[in-house]
Amino acid sequence: MKQKSVAIVGAAETTQMGIIPDMSVIELHADAALNAMADCGLKPSDIDGVATAGESPVAVAHHLGITPTYVDGTSVGGCSFMLHVRHAAAAINEGLATTVLITHGESGRSRVGAGRFGPAAASLQGQFEAPYGASGPPSMFTIPVLRYMKELGLTHEQLAMVAVVQREWAGMNPRASFRDPITVEDVLNSRMIAYPFRLLECCLVTDGGGALILTSASRAKDFPTKPVYILGTGESTETPMVSQMEDFTSSKAFRVSGKKAFDEAGISHADVDHLMIYDAFAHLPIYALEDLGFCKRGEAAGFIWEGNTRPGGKLPLNTNGGGLSYMHSGMYGMYALQESVRQLRGTAPAQVPGAKISISHGVGGMFAASGTIIMTNEK
């Protein structure tokens, strides 16, 4: 896409976050959407494009009273919203819509109006993974990590440090679910979930939502909010089955999506002021730092251990506290994007001083898919 041709002008999360037993999934979408419209002064009749995942875009559009000329139901897991941003930018440039609303809502914790998990017995996952007692992401997303540990020397202490550093960021965020400081020892003493992963190395399960509104850069200046311009975008997929991942120490989808986004943006890694990496589990920042090219192979854990990603470090990472400490409704990508927007607007609780370029990098499924969005606040 053309750099800075499209901007995020509206961005908001649900009014409440965490445990919301009195709201169904569709209402979480609507609450976030209404907050995003209020953020930038729009009404449903001003929106002509709708994108969402996990819920039908037809349902979201009808519920909100929108008649779209552009619809995107791309649903590839928690990074779907990165792909929606990318597709919306292309659609706006092509004239398919002028103003696109992207929504997310998920009753991950309370399961109000939510569907059921689990593959069909005749699907490939149902035939070749589920019979072995894989019980959701904690016991599947984690499977490649022992291989990474053996080949690249990652230690249990280094893996634990990812959670420790993110808790430092969460401590600065009043909306974070968990804010009390933790140590590597605390992490390694927390309950075993799926060896080598302990409780504090696994994401939260909460309720919430978020919404974004995009329009052309030329229209963006007429909005009350500070525009966040789309600078570069990428997406890719690898496999719906974690067991079929080509290389257990690196995500092909991350590498392809990240390179595409950097190439489009025309920036170097040193230009990046702020980074969000979807952290459903503690190994994801390690994989993504390497697959996006911020660290050489096998060096990301040491990079985090040395403090480079913590408050005051040279590459502030997951500054909302991440899926490990902020919130994780199931499809966390929307919250990574929200934090990038806050940082570039200068309104984040743990603000990175003078941040000009931010990246939100998402994962979908279990290394199944990926989306990368590079944003800037400079026209």
């Binding site: 005749a122 072995y132 007692g133 019980s135 499977i143 022992l146 291989r147």
Partner: protein, 138 residues
């Protein structure tokens, strides 16, 4: 077997020969007749060269322990076994296969990556036997 409460695979026309194989005590994979690529999970074509000419063959049933977790939060039906390993074996023919490890303690000490594994077949219904793996020579 009547009280087996774990997920049971439901074969499709494309995967039926695989499950016929495990029932008969054979691990069957496919090989592309055009480029020799070994294919798993089953499909009636080659994802490397798009040839629709692929043939089933009997695999050695040998491989090595590639990676695993030891799951402490059992899936429905697995309550009696937790903690249990969910493993991926890298077959000698190339493909990765998810499985459980049998005839071996489910501990990090006993489960060493790259250890040699061999397939065994566990009947779970009248028609389905699951391929599982044990340390070679166990």
């Amino acid at each position: 077997m009547a009280d087996y409460r774990k997920p049971i695979p439901q074969p499709t026309p494309e995967t039926q020969p695989f499950w016929d194989g495990t029932k008969a005590g054979e691990l069957r994979l496919q090989r592309c007749d055009a480029c020799s690529n070994v294919i798993f999970p089953p499909r009636p074509f080659c994802p490397r060269c798009a040839s629709r000419s692929v043939s089933w063959f009997k695999a050695t049933g040998k491989g090595k322990l590639w990676s695993y977790v030891i799951n402490h939060r059992p899936a429905p039906g697995f309550e009696q076994e937790a903690p249990y390993a969910i493993a991926v074996v890298k077959l000698d023919e190339g493909p990765h296969m998810m499985t459980n490890i049998v005839d071996c303690p489910q501990t990090p000490e006993a489960l060493q990556l790259d250890m040699a594994m061999e397939v065994v077949f566990q009947p779970v219904s009248e028609t389905i036997s699951l391929p599982k793996f044990r340390p070679a020579g166990a």
